[in-house]
C-alpha cells in the first residue's frame, strides 16, 4: 500500500550512569518501533521493548457522542485490551492513567467537540508493560498527526531489596523487586507527567528513580526522533 512506510529503527541503547554508593546498573532493553502498519486507524504504531510488545491504534479527531462531547476540547478515550481474558478493574485504572497523560500533552482545544480514541492491544508482556503502552500510544498519536505540545515516554524503575536500581526491568526482575515505579516524562522539560508505583520505598529513592528516569528518557526521545527521521527521509 502506498504510504505504508515502515520505519524499523532498532537501536540498542545503553546508558551507564556513574556508580554512586549503590552502583545502579542502568541499561534499557532493545527498542523497536513500527508505524503505519494498520490500514483502518488514522495512526498506528507497534512498540517493542525487549520481549514486551504493544500495538496501538488512534482514531481521530472523529465524531463524538453528544453525551460525551466537551464544548471546547476534544474528548480523549483510551481502551486497553489485555492479551488474555476480559478487561477488568486493573485495565480501567491503567486506561485512566494513560488517558490523563495523553490529555496533558494533546492540544485538545484545536479540535473541540470531537473524539480522539487510542486503542492499545497487549501483544506480549515481559515486564514494563505500562511504559511500553505509553510509548506505543505516543508513537501512534504522532503517526495520526494529532497536534501535541510535547512528546511523552514511559520509563519503569525497579528497586531491589539492597537498594539497587534497575531500569526497564523484565517480568522476573519486577517480581523480585521491592518496589516498581512507572513514570511518564514529557520531552520539553522532562517533568513528571504520570506516576504509579507498587511497593514501599523512601523519599530519597523516589528522587533517585526520577533522576534515572530523566536520564533514560533522553535515549527514548532520541530514538523517537531518529525513527521518525528515518521514516520521512525515505519519502
Amino acid at each position: 500500500v502506498e504510504g505504508a512506510m515502515q520505519a524499523d529503527a532498532k537501536i540498542r541503547t545503553e546508558s551507564a550512569t556513574e556508580s554512586g554508593p549503590r552502583g545502579p546498573s542502568c541499561s534499557l532493553r532493545h527498542f523497536a518501533c513500527e508505524q503505519n502498519l494498520l490500514s483502518r486507524p488514522d495512526g498506528s504504531a507497534s512498540f517493542l521493548q525487549g520481549d514486551t510488545s504493544v500495538l496501538a491504534g488512534v482514531y481521530g479527531p472523529a465524531e463524538v457522542k453528544v453525551s460525551k462531547e466537551i464544548f471546547n476540547k476534544a474528548t480523549l478515550e483510551v481502551i486497553l485490551r489485555p492479551k488474555i481474558g476480559l478487561p477488568g478493574v486493573a485495565e480501567k485504572s491503567r486506561e485512566r492513567l494513560i488517558r490523563n497523560t495523553c490529555e496533558a500533552v494533546v492540544l485538545g482545544t484545536l479540535h473541540p467537540r470531537t473524539s480522539i480514541t487510542v486503542v492499545l492491544q497487549v501483544v506480549s508482556d515481559a515486564g514494563s508493560l505500562l511504559a511500553c503502552c505509553l510509548n506505543a500510544a505516543c508513537m501512534a498519536l504522532v503517526d495520526a498527526g494529532v497536534p501535541m505540545r510535547a512528546l511523552f515516554c514511559g520509563v519503569t524503575c525497579a528497586l531491589n531489596a539492597d537498594g539497587t536500581l534497575v531500569l526497564d526491568p523484565t517480568a522476573k526482575q519486577e517480581k523480585e523487586a521491592r518496589a516498581v515505579l512507572t513514570l511518564a516524562l514529557d520531552s520539553v522539560e522532562r517533568k513528571l507527567l504520570m506516576s504509579t508505583t507498587k511497593g514501599l520505598y523512601s523519599d530519597a529513592e523516589l528522587q533517585q528513580c526520577l533522576a534515572a528516569a530523566q536520564a533514560a528518557s533522553q535515549h527514548v526521545f532520541r530514538f523517537y526522533r531518529e525513527s521518525l527521521q528515518r521514516r520521512y527521509s525515505k519519502s
Partner: protein, 276 residues
C-alpha cells in the same frame, strides 16, 4: 455579583483567590478541611468507620467470612476492597455497573493494601490449605465533594482497626469449624498508611485537599500515601501537568505532617471508645 462571576468564569474567580494565597472557603493552600471520624457505628458489621473530610463523607464496613485459601498460597487469607460511588453522593454518577471513577478508586485502595502490607495475609489464615478469613471491605461514598481517595484510605484504616475477629478452632473429629463468639481479638495492624491529595493549578500551584469544584478546575492531581516511617506506599499521579522533583519534595513534607495529624486523631478516637 460574585456568584454571577463565579458561574460565568469559574477559573478566573479561583485565580483571584489563589493570588492572595487562599481559597474561596477561607482555607490556606496547605490546609485540610475539618476531619471527623466515627468508629464502630455499624453494629452488624465486624468493623466500621465513618469519615468526614469537610463535606465529603465516606463510610467503610468490613465483614469477615470463611473461605478456602488460594491454592498458590495456602497460608494466606483475602482482603477484598470495593469502593462504591452511588448516585446518592453526586449527580454525576448513575446507577448501574461501577463507573470508571469507582473502579479506579477500588484499584487504588487494593494497591494501598497490597503495597503497605497493612495486615499480613498470613494472620488471616485459620488452618493452612483448609480455611481462612476473607475480609470484604465495602467503602461507600455518601457525599462527594472532592478528595475521595484520602477519605477512603482513612475510613479503611479506621475500620480495620475496629475489626474484631472471633476465635475459630477446627474440631478434629468432625473437621468443622467452631466459632467462639465470646472470645474476640483485634487485627494486627502493622502500618498506618495515610493518603494526602494535591491538585495542580495552572501547571504551577499546588493546593492540598481539593473540593469537588477545585478538582474540576485543576489541571492535574497527585496522591501520596505515606506510612509512619516516611516510606511511600503509593505515588499516584494520573497524568495532568508536569511536576519537577522539587515540587514533589514539597508534597512529601506536607504528607509527613498530615500523617501525624491523622494518626493523632485516630488514636484519640480509639482511646475514647468504650470497650464492647
Amino acid at each position: 455579583m460574585a456568584a454571577g462571576f463565579k458561574t460565568v468564569e469559574p477559573l478566573e474567580y479561583y485565580r483571584r483567590f489563589l493570588k492572595e494565597n487562599c481559597r474561596p472557603d477561607g482555607r490556606e493552600l496547605g490546609e485540610f478541611r475539618t476531619t471527623t471520624v466515627n468508629i464502630g457505628s455499624i453494629s452488624t458489621a465486624d468493623g466500621s468507620a465513618l469519615v468526614k473530610l469537610g463535606n465529603t463523607t465516606v463510610i467503610c464496613g468490613i465483614k469477615a467470612e470463611f473461605a478456602a485459601p488460594p491454592t498458590d498460597a495456602p497460608d494466606k487469607g483475602y482482603v477484598v476492597p470495593n469502593v462504591d460511588l452511588p448516585p446518592l453522593c453526586s449527580s454525576r454518577f448513575r446507577s448501574g455497573p461501577p463507573g470508571e471513577e469507582a473502579q479506579v478508586a477500588s484499584q487504588f485502595i487494593a494497591d494501598v493494601i497490597e503495597n503497605s502490607q497493612i495486615i499480613q495475609k498470613e494472620d488471616l489464615c485459620i488452618s493452612p490449605g483448609k480455611l481462612s478469613w476473607v475480609l470484604y471491605c465495602d467503602i461507600i461514598c455518601l457525599d462527594y465533594d472532592g478528595n475521595i481517595l484520602d477519605a477512603c484510605t482513612f475510613a479503611l484504616l479506621a475500620a480495620l482497626k475496629n475489626v474484631q475477629l472471633p476465635e475459630v478452632t477446627i474440631n478434629e473429629e468432625t473437621g468443622l469449624a467452631e466459632v467462639n463468639l465470646k472470645k474476640k481479638s483485634y487485627l494486627n495492624i502493622r502500618t498506618h498508611p495515610v493518603a494526602t491529595s494535591f491538585a495542580v493549578f495552572d501547571d504551577t500551584l499546588l493546593i492540598v485537599d481539593p473540593t469537588g469544584e477545585e478538582e474540576h478546575l485543576a489541571t492535574g492531581t497527585l496522591t501520596v500515601v505515606m506510612d509512619e516511617e516516611g516510606k511511600l506506599c503509593c505515588l499516584h499521579k494520573p497524568g495532568g501537568s508536569g511536576l519537577t522533583g522539587a515540587k514533589l519534595q514539597d508534597c512529601m513534607s506536607r504528607a509527613v505532617t498530615r500523617h501525624k495529624e491523622v494518626k493523632k486523631l485516630m488514636d484519640e478516637v480509639i482511646k475514647s471508645m468504650k470497650p464492647k
